[in-house]
Subunit: 287 residues, 2 copies
Amino acid sequence: MKLIKKVNILIVGLGLLGGSYAKGLKKLGFTVNAITKDRFSIDYAMENGIIDNGTTDVNPEMVAEADLVVFALYPHTFIEWIKANQQYFKSGAVITDVTGVKGCVVHEIQDILREDVEYIAAHPMAGKEVSGVVNSDDTIFKGANYIVVPTEKNTPEAIELCRNLGEILGFKQVAELSVEEHDRMIAFLSQLTHCIAVSLMCCNNTPGLESYTGDSFRDLTRIARINDEMWSELFLSNREVLLEEMERFRSSFDELYEKIKDGDRDGMRQMMRLSTERRKLFDKKDK
Amino acid sequence: MKLIKKVNILIVGLGLLGGSYAKGLKKLGFTVNAITKDRFSIDYAMENGIIDNGTTDVNPEMVAEADLVVFALYPHTFIEWIKANQQYFKSGAVITDVTGVKGCVVHEIQDILREDVEYIAAHPMAGKEVSGVVNSDDTIFKGANYIVVPTEKNTPEAIELCRNLGEILGFKQVAELSVEEHDRMIAFLSQLTHCIAVSLMCCNNTPGLESYTGDSFRDLTRIARINDEMWSELFLSNREVLLEEMERFRSSFDELYEKIKDGDRDGMRQMMRLSTERRKLFDKKDK
């Protein structure tokens, strides 16, 4: 299958990411349908030309028409959906997803999925601190990474199709990682940072602090505004790896604490110089 | 003394902040001289119209002409400078500073200072990840806070003059805090956040991480590019309070760790909802 305009695309789960996929794909000329649990999201998306058609129940005909199905659900809902409805897929359909953790969905779904349907996992590393289709916005893909997460069960054709989807949606970089590499990377770069922001925001209740806040504190806590339903599930879906990454950070933080306590100025400066040096690598390349 | 244009201002220490003060004050029409240790900074500032005159040695005549002296030095250098050169001050002169920690300078300097000169402490909460007069920029004051830190030794006139300095430099908010309130607030909002960023940047050396970095990690580590000489001194100058704030954060981080480890989803969600709620207070008001 090639991603040409006659390809019929179904989005399951019309939230921020599902809606942003729909918006981008519709602009590119694809037929885009959607299934999502709440009526308002379907109505909003239809009225605003984000999708062609949509239903709140799983409509067997709509599923059967789809060549490509994109799942933008929470991990456990994604698995349940496949178990309950995979009999409706068209033979030869390809399914992909936007799930932020892979180990908890990829192997299980590839194991139970019909032989004539292929699931190729992907993680668009884009988002906002707001949710819902009303906030969907396909420009969030512009500077972002799109990670394809193939296993030994995937065909080169499906991997290519999935990469192509990231490219046409306008991601800055399309890359491939194994399930284990992906979940380790996400635990450190994304989940740990959210843990830090939440902890920092929870630890001090002094009134009036906000009047003196500079950009450092604001930057560190921007992501402390968090969708608790989604993130608690993502944390628990990657628990072992996340705990290891939290321990890694904690031991570095404790090291700095001890150096400050001991008045070890050289040791502190060494850590600061290392962090300064490493941070340069992370500057945005387009700046 | 009122801040009218005939007031002669001397900046001691022409780095990023000293240079930014000089730039702003010169544009407002004041006579601005500077004393700083390296020749290049003086030459650069003269050539670019940032100051009227400058020297690398302490010039007694230049000090004696100044009605207002702004110290933009490291804490220990500031104290040494006062001890060595306070005999040159004009009687009635007012001195102020930009030091990021107050407990380590304010009491000592107010104790040793001549009776006919007044030191009113201030902290302009503005900065950049770069240093030196070549990077000085008076627009960094625009959205920032300026904190006046008076003690019982200060006169209402000097406090008013110091507030006025913050106002004419264009700070968004001018506030007053006691030395203890200031150092506690700085330990939490600024020093702790730098400790977190440095620790996070130091704890993982996996090659290629930067290719997958999203904005969360970038935002959390922006301040990991740090002037190690200055910050190690500031941390140690506020050691006890900073260690307490680090412990405060660590116990919140550990609490989240335990909840994830125990699979306590409700407990995790409770922390996330608290952090989401609190973070709203910290949004920039002008956005």
